[in-house]
Symmetry: C2
Subunit: 461 residues, 2 copies
């Protein structure tokens, strides 16, 4: 396998795409960047497909010339998934961003992969429907599918895994396939849809996706409260989930994260662990749910309850949560943030969070914790100076300790950020002999390893 | 590939299993039977594993001797999935029926595949939790996983796809793998869990499964009502689902099905389409949901509303629904029932159901329709005499027309019964070029084709 774009491949792609194949330094540099701490990795060229047929033809040329192809949407992935570390082509999907077929009567929509989640929700305005998955960033829906994204509402609406009904994809030989149907369920055939969801562009390039939509709740109630300890906050969450209360959002912010908000936005909150909550339903239903939650929270000494139902007040209440990244950066005095995430069984959440806090202190690191704790999923945001080798080494040590904690407690080394470059080293520990069966799939689907080479599956095997 | 058990394989299996390898005519005959219209297909021998290691050793011997292996649990599959049509070994999983690890605090449980859903729910009594998936029969949980089963509660709780968190499986070379973790979500690696769910024993043998559990609803409200036409009933369902009402069950019974109940159990119901409903939640919540439903149903001229909340009254109200199979048989004057199912986008449901009713009349067949209509999924139960070649041919014609209707309307040829033997002929029409990528997986995972050969993937390719 060559790992660069050869002259004949470049000629063939240029003939196909004309000025939609770009080799300028500026475009290449831009497509080699990422939002976190990974070194730049520019592609040899950037292709801008506009149709599925474009993608298929590009892949056929790349297959013929053994040229790597790395799809990219909004480039908001957090483990370097879109970085062309072996060179080749960045397949920029942003021009394929149309809504193809909105079927409100079936509560689903078919879109192109470059459309972002906010773009979709803007399109849905006035339909009474919305697409709830909210990973924070305005990610592309293709990228969210490829990385099995989730976010703050997964506790209620599930992750991308639960909300992708059907896909169109171009496979490594240029074949265009369709997986799934418009029906809500099926028991025919191997589940290729869910094999492609979370495959990080290593098995096929998603060119269309059909998503489940949900009715906008009649009423939304937002609330916050605080606890004396992380254990109290988390044990409140555990009992809430066990009690079956249909939480729409339930987010933990540890005292360091709150300190970040105070420094970033003068939030004036007591520097204690907080829960940020949202309830969806009828007016009577959300009030009943909120009361049910408060009854549980009281047992754990919750204080400072504030709630809101109007859009303005809710937005004000939750505004801070959405600025977690900047607040973490403020806390780190402008350093870079190294984000990492794990997911554990909910019964193990308090132990995992406390362990992470202790590890950060022991390693002399500044780290915030924000968690989609209803799922057992939480993030650490470590302040790092990429030029400080010692600090980077301690951050790496912290990340490894967190991954090992998650595995020891029966969890996974990533609940939503994915594998990309950063979590490959834990794949064998998490998956054991199953990893070989993942490799069989990769070999069967992409024998030349042209689709996002160097991602997901570790090569040291 | 040989398609029988050779003497050396038999010797090796006997040495391993002793009297847990049975070749008696009685056992073989029993393991070659099914509940529907498929001809008997007895295995050459029946193996009774008691541990995962037993399964692994059996598979290793079978791999060495090219001997087919077909796992079977409660043998309630409806498309012949457990029939050893190429001979070899029936792997009877019924002795592997223990609850291995119940974790109420995490709302999940790990069990062996031979445990049935009712067995699990009996074990969960007094925990406040239950496993909601209800396909009707008391199927084994391994079989339900392997066939991606669903049933009456899927509209609220999802299908097996949504409720299997993790698996242990023995692969075609005897390797034991684990997929998934105890965490509620993960974004690491290819989704082998969901590749095995619904693979009908053709990719690996499930030896352990971790299932999500749900809190028993505080209050359950059951109800029935009837409509003047199937279109009215189905349009009521469509609007209900679109409105976001959290239905726990919503079942359509057509006038023929009601006639069956009247003949079988003197139900005394008007022979019109009925909906059977269930609402789960708090007492106030279910009352609110039921009223919300009635407001919609009134628009479609619903009549004869009856509701109940006590266990006894609810059981009485729903008793009929659970006897649909016998009532269909009563209607057919003791003939066999040929069951078939499809699933369509919910907006297409009325058209699909009416088309099916008309096709049955046009073909001179007696058929009932019962549907998990909240999912767009419905069953036809055709009365057939397997010795009447003409009637069997007309039933085949009906089934094909129904499958083609489902595909024309954007649906799938099976929502929950699966492919097995009966739906292979529609796989190419439903999946198109994707079928070749399913074959690649089968080839990569089971190159000798020893795992349930002759199922799922059509051979005429």
């Amino acid at each position: 396998m060559t790992e660069t774009l050869t002259a004949p491949a470049l000629a063939a792609l240029s003939a196909l795409l004309g000025d939609r194949l770009v080799t300028s330094q500026a475009d290449r540099t831009q497509h080699g960047r990422n939002e976190t701490y990974y070194p730049d990795a520019p592609p040899d060229a950037v292709a801008y497909p506009e149709t599925t047929e474009d993608v298929a033809q590009i892949i056929r040329i790349c297959a013929q010339h053994d040229c790597p192809v790395v799809a990219v949407g909004a480039a908001t992935s957090l483990e370097g998934q879109h970085l062309p570390v072996h060179g080749g082509i960045s397949l920029d999907m942003n021009r394929m961003n149309r809504v193809l077929d909105l079927r409100p009567q079936d509560l689903n929509v078919t879109v192109q992969p470059g459309l972002t989640r906010m773009g979709l929700n803007a399109h849905l305005r006035d339909t009474g429907l919305f697409f709830p998955i909210d990973p924070g960033a305005d990610a592309s829906l293709g990228g969210m599918t490829a990385t099995r994204a989730s976010g703050t509402t997964a506790v209620r609406y599930g992750t991308m895994r639960d909300n992708v009904l059907a896909l169109e994809a171009v496979m490594a030989d240029g074949t265009i396939i369709r997986t799934g149907t418009q029906a809500r369920k099926s028991s025919t055939g191997y589940d290729l849809t869910h094999l492609l969801v979370g495959s990080e562009g290593t098995l096929g390039i998603i060119t269309e996706l059909t998503l489940r939509l949900h009715g906008l709740p009649e009423s939304t109630l937002a609330a916050i409260c605080r606890f004396d300890s992380v254990a109290d906050a988390v044990n409140c969450v555990i009992l809430t989930i066990q009690s079956g209360l249909p939480m729409a959002r339930i987010e933990l912010l540890d005292h360091m994260m709150v300190r970040g908000f105070n420094q970033y936005a003068a939030a004036g909150l007591p520097e204690k662990p907080h829960l940020f909550l949202e309830f969806h339903g009828t007016a009577a239903g959300t009030a009943e749910q909120a009361q049910g939650f408060r009854d549980i929270a009281d047992e754990f000494g919750a204080q400072g309850w504030q709630q809101a139902t109007s859009t303005e007040e809710r937005t004000a209440l939750w505004a801070m949560r959405h600025k977690a990244h900047y607040a973490s950066a403020a806390l780190g005095k402008g350093k870079h943030i190294w984000p990492t995430d794990v997911c554990v069984p909910i019964s193990q959440l308090a132990e995992a969070v406390v362990q992470a806090q202790n590890d950060a202190v022991a390693l002399g690191l500044t780290s915030t914790i924000v968690g989609h704790v209803g799922d057992g999923n939480f993030h650490a945001g470590i302040s790092v100076d990429p030029d400080d080798a010692d600090e980077m080494a301690r951050a790496e040590k912290f990340t490894r300790a967190l991954a090992e904690t998650a595995l020891r407690l029966g969890g996974t080394v990533s609940g939503e950020h994915g594998v990309g470059l950063g979590k490959q080293k834990y794949m064998a520990a998490e998956h054991g002999p199953a990893l070989d069966w993942m490799r069989r799939i990769k070999m069967a689907f992409d024998p030349k390893n042209i689709l996002n080479p160097g991602k997901m599956l570790p090569q040291d095997h």
